[in-house]
Amino acid sequence: MVGVDDVNLIPRGMAMKTGAPAGWSHFDHDADIGVRGTGPTLATAFEQAALALTGIITEEPVAAAQAVAITCAAPDVETLFVDWLNALVFEMATRQMLFGRYEVAIRQDGECALEGQAWGERVDRERHRPTVEVKGATFTALSVWQDANGLWRAQCIVDV
């Protein structure tokens, strides 16, 4: 794992799912910001990291009014994670939407593939008070791993 100082971890959303803790956090980078998702499954970690992505842009609630389907495929699970976040960045930018709920299924049989849904609504500048737009997810501090307790974690730096 590269460039992560756990002292800087700021726990944000915490939820219980399938009996194990799931949650997301941000971690510090000189100019930008890191997103990390944690969960009992790889898919949950990806979903939680996506919530961390939303958390960079807004701290306000986002209604799950419209669903957008996301599919990605990559040679490895870390690249898949970057692809997943970048697919969300693209959909947010072109649809002028924010997402507040995510659900993904991940298949690993040779190549890695993701099928997911992101639920959200059109950006409302008054209500969401968006802070910053995300330019893209990077390969910096990119890591997807399962810790000794069986928890999955997925993280990388995003450029803002």
């Binding site: 941000h26 980078h29 100019a31 910001i33 950006v123 968006p130 737009e133 330019k135 893209g136 990119l142």
Partner: protein, 476 residues
């Protein structure tokens, strides 16, 4: 960063001699305090860049260097295609051709003062800023390709700017070699409604007062006088550049091992210049440069429209428009031999010295304006390229202050409203859609831009010409 990791060559020059897989030395220009304040990852990243194939002379880092994506932000590296050199999407960055333009208004700061709030409101209304904003220009497929090939020249032809601006923009306002066919449909889709938008984060449009002149002769040649009001615009290639960066960073990361390029870290992803992927990236990246040049030209045009409403006789003239996230082919002398090199500047500003053939006639004897953005509370600098710049780091200088603390740390320390009120006390008017964004960009979250430019001047990277302080700051 521990200064003992370097060999100190002078007060402002620090070397890492080649070791391990390094092909050339790594050279950092900064004073001791700046080096000590830097993240250790600057060392790692400048050393990593020195291992890349075809690198020439050294891997350089500027006084404002900080942790980037593979390359340090504030990194400069030149590669020779004929020696197996590479091109790196991370060495250019996500915001391709992000840069600064400065426009002379012909007005005094005292002319602005009585209308400061109204002018701030009008600029904030005219120039789309922040998340969820979009411009009035909606490009169809043909217009998009024309913009990507034509840059600021396209904007001027469409009536968004003045022909006289073009010689004051790098590359005459149009980057040659751009290939819109190398830009994905997704990147074009992302840009469709984003022409003439400022973006967010550290991007800004400011009205500034020239507060200090350091070099009277150069300032006079640039048209800068103490007490004058100028406009500065900092932004880049918007969604199109971000999408190009995203796609090519990923493709290079996946393809580099297959091409036999050994990377110390995957984030250093690159491709051989003389490869189909390298050439495709060049075509797309140059189109991204044109997008940024067109974008800043359009924002300049919108700004002129607003000023005309307040000051009908004012004529806003472009001082210069310069990028700090690019890779450009430039001729440099290396050991007495002229070579065409692919110079990456990631968070570093080109700084051509006097006599450079690429400078417009009006600036050729003086040197290129180097525009350095500081924080919204402190100020910015205008520097000039010098004869020494070429010898130091392929005619490159710093680009800004660099963050002193993370966005979260800034949020823990400041509230947006408090920052706005404190700046108003200092006579600086802020307009932004996001108070959290203002807190993240609080002046105290940035390093001392003065220390950065002092180090740049001492190191011979560029010469100080003027210090400017914001009066109005429109922030995304």
């Amino acid at each position: 960063m521990d200064v003992n990791r370097f060999t100190r060559v002078s007060e402002t020059e620090w070397h890492v001699e080649p070791h391990g897989a390094m092909r050339v030395p790594a050279v950092l220009y900064a004073d001791e305090d700046l080096v000590e304040a830097m993240d250790d990852k600057v060392y790692d990243q400048m050393v990593n860049v020195a291992t890349l194939p075809g690198i020439v002379k050294a891997s350089y880092a500027m006084p404002d260097a900080h942790w980037g994506y593979g390359f340090p932000i504030g990194g400069v590296a030149a590669f020779d295609a004929q020696k197996g050199g590479v091109i790196s999407a991370g060495g250019v960055g996500f915001d391709i051709s992000c840069g600064v333009r400065a426009m002379l208004t012909g007005l005094r700061a005292g002319d602005i003062e009585p209308v400061k709030d109204g002018l701030a409101d009008a600029l904030y209304k005219a120039v789309p800023v922040g998340v969820g904003s979009h411009g009035e220009i909606d490009l169809d497929a043909d217009q998009m390709d024309a913009m990507l090939a034509g840059g600021a020249q396209w904007a001027v032809e469409r009536g968004y700017g003045e022909a006289a601006d073009l010689e004051r923009i790098e590359e005459g306002g149009r980057m040659a070699g751009a290939d819109p066919a190398c830009v994905s449909d997704k990147a074009k889709k992302r840009q469709r409604r984003e022409m003439g938008t400022l973006g967010s984060g550290n991007h800004y449009l400011e009205v500034q007062r020239v507060e200090t002149i350091f070099d009277m002769a150069i300032a006079a040649a640039y048209g800068l006088e103490k007490g004058a009001a100028i406009v500065a615009i900092h932004c880049g290639s918007r969604g199109l550049g971000h999408q190009i960066g995203t796609e090519f960073l990923r493709e290079m990361a996946v393809e580099a091992p297959k091409a036999g390029i050994v990377l110390p870290d995957r984030e250093l992803a690159c491709a051989l210049i003389d490869s189909p992927l390298g050439q495709r990236y060049l075509g797309a990246m140059r189109a991204g440069i044109n997008c940024a040049l067109a974008n800043r030209e359009i924002i300049g045009h919108l700004t002129r429209g607003v000023f005309a409403g307040f000051f009908p006789d004012a004529r806003l003239r472009l001082l210069f428009d310069v990028s700090h996230n690019t890779c450009k082919v430039e001729r440099h002398r290396v050991n007495g031999e002229a070579r065409d090199l692919y110079v990456h500047r990631k968070g570093a500003t080109r700084a051509f010295g006097p006599g450079h053939a690429d400078l417009p006639a009006a600036l050729r004897d003086i040197g290129q304006p180097v525009l350095i953005g500081g924080s919204m509370g402190t100020g910015s600098y205008v520097l000039a390229g010098t004869a020494l710049s070429e010898q130091r780091a392929f005619s490159s200088a710093c680009h800004g202050a660099g963050r002193a603390m993370s966005r979260h740390a800034a949020l823990r320390q400041w509230k947006g409203r408090q920052v706005v009120d404190e700046l108003r006390e200092k006579g600086i008017v802020i307009r932004s859609p996001s108070m959290r964004g203002v807190a993240e960009e609080a002046p105290g979250a940035y390093k001392d831009v003065g220390a950065v430019v002092d180090a740049a001047e001492k190191a011979g990277l560029a010469k100080k010409v003027a210090f400017v302080r914001p009066m109005i700051c429109v922030k995304g």
